[in-house]
Symmetry: C2
Subunit: 360 residues, 2 copies
């Protein structure tokens, strides 16, 4: 049977406390905040704190915000998508943001942004709750004009590189951009495969509209071209950053007689799908085919075989984004050094890759 609960309409405020103790609201205000607490006589302060505790007093945030002009909070804008945490990217980034913010005593808002199919992004932005001191944006891709518009809100704004369309130079955006050095990460990944003796390498890439995907593709091909190992066109497959892309792509590539001996995947999810497809085709990983991922999410070490992959330092990226927003908000008007260089992505070698032709 449903029970019923109700909540007092009015909560205790600073004046209620003041009148009940017959002191002025000023005194209560001073006693309640650590910075000014020394101004109040000790016994009186104790009295006030006790009553506040008993009444579960918490200061009206609106009033405080109005008076002080700032609020220690930032908004993270994520895409409106049922399964955003399926991809580990958002979860890991968000987790990093939470930590970085908590360390500074900041509050984190999350806001979903849905771009209606035919409509303007501007319209979608209307619904953004802008009651925070800064924005970290990792939702829908943004054109330079969109960025222009967003930065017009005059709040500290940080973008993740992933939201910029491929080809737009980061420097010219005029807004801090945080991101990972996909290019050298991908180069390292491809280099390892070459070093292990693989030359017949298939590429399972992300969507062509994604900057991350493009940068990684370029990194892979840079290295492979240099040694004349560019994959034949039908071995270069693009799709979403999902296990399904890996499954379908690997299934197609591994069905032929002269199949690739290694698969270089643009995300861990794709790699997982590829490993499963290989297994379904009766091939073992890494004995029959090596698989390389990209991201190093929590599953990479927990799956089987443990995935060789490129570590995206997303927590560090988030830390950098939060740090900028907090700095900028704390020093309004003054100019802040914006983070501009990418964080490097290191190779993590585990069990899903093996030297070509090496014994079991």
């Amino acid at each position: 049977m449903p029970e019923r609960v109700s909540y007092r309409a009015t909560r205790a405020g600073i004046v209620q406390i003041a009148t009940r103790l017959s002191v002025s609201p000023s005194t209560v205000s001073r006693a309640l905040r650590p910075e000014t607490a020394h101004l109040v006589r000790a016994d009186r302060r104790k009295e006030i704190l006790d009553l506040a505790e008993r009444l579960h007093f918490s200061p009206n945030p609106g009033a405080r915000m109005l008076r002080k002009g700032v609020n220690a909070s930032l908004t993270v804008v994520v895409p409106f998508d049922e399964n955003i945490f399926f991809s580990e990217f958002y979860g890991r980034f968000l987790s990093g943001t939470l930590h970085a913010a908590a360390a500074r005593g900041w509050d984190v808002h999350i806001c979903t942004l849905r771009r209606q199919p035919g409509s303007d992004l501007r319209e979608a932005l209307q619904h953004l709750s802008l009651d925070t001191s800064g924005l970290i944006y990792l939702a829908e891709p943004l054109s330079p004009a969109d960025v222009q518009h967003l930065s017009g809100y005059r709040r500290p704004l940080v973008l993740t590189k992933s939201v910029l369309p491929p080809g737009v130079p980061v420097k010219e955006i005029g807004v801090p951009v945080v991101g990972v050095d996909n290019l050298s990460g991908a180069q390292t990944a491809a280099s390892l495969l070459l070093q292990l003796g693989h030359v017949r390498i298939g590429l399972l890439l992300g969507p062509s509209g994604s900057r991350d995907a493009q940068e990684r593709k370029k990194g892979y091909l840079d290295v492979l071209d240099r040694v004349g190992a560019r994959p034949r066109p039908e071995w270069i497959i693009e799709g979403s950053f999902s296990a399904e892309t890996g499954r379908a792509g690997a299934a197609a590539l591994l069905a032929t007689a002269d199949r690739p001996t290694a698969l270089c995947c643009a995300s861990d999810e794709i790699a997982f799908g590829a490993i499963n497809a290989a297994r379904a085709a009766g091939l073992r990983c890494p004995e029959d085919v090596s698989v390389m991922g990209f991201d190093d999410g929590p599953w990479a070490a927990a799956c089987w075989p443990a995935l060789t992959t490129v570590r995206q330092p997303l927590a560090d990226v988030a830390e950098r984004a939060v740090s900028f927003v907090v700095e900028a908000a704390n020093h309004p008007g003054s100019s802040i050094t914006s983070p501009s260089s990418d964080l490097s992505a290191a190779l993590v070698i585990r069990d899903s890759t093996r030297a070509l032709g090496s014994p079991r």
Copy 2:
């Protein structure tokens, strides 16, 4: 080279707009909000909206909050843990919360709660940002006294059943509790295995301190006991809700000659670990051993073999929690029917289970 950016210290307010157009602030306020926009003459309204747009005006949230008394936002309290999104539970719940909140125009804050090893929960709660109209709590386990304290803040509060210690009756908490019917979900799961002919069943469970784990354990054993198929004690293994628990547990159980023919796991992650361990031991799933999960996260369908599992309707649970908070906040003082019954968890049959002794 690092570039530098800066932000205007003061943002345009409603009075700036008013004076520049030589109208009163009241008119601007009315023109700016859809509900009252019809009160101002069309041409003037357009003038105002245009200028506001040009100035990137957005109303001071503090002032608005102070004036209106409410703010359409709620806080989700999650544990302070580097890898919270590794477990799919939080990601899926949060995603559901975001949707439910967005549908109502509400804003979502996220707050991490870290209980210092020896210290009181009260202390940790001090750092909670309470500037929202409601709380959805899914962090550290709460004793009834803790709940008492939390509800003293006189804000709408919803708990997930998982945070209550096993044995505490939901009814007596006096606070709305949302959750999943673990008991019947687990019963259905065990029934399926029996129905497939399995009687030698191993149980890979969650931590004994977790209510979810205890309820699921009870559900499994209820059914197995009824037909005299209670697993021998060494086949009942408890651990964290992680792949490692599944890996280690399955490795131990499957190493013996008279191994179980089916493994019933208390979470998808455990099941994934178990499948990998089976594979490492040279056993195939589902041919040699059936594996049952619990949760039906996004990976359940994407992994290989696709996992038979119990679907936790976390999005619905979140929807229910948000719905309660919003209702309670919108009708302060009045009593709201609190959700009390669990949402049912349905079996999803995929490829990781098979009838005992069935042909390949």
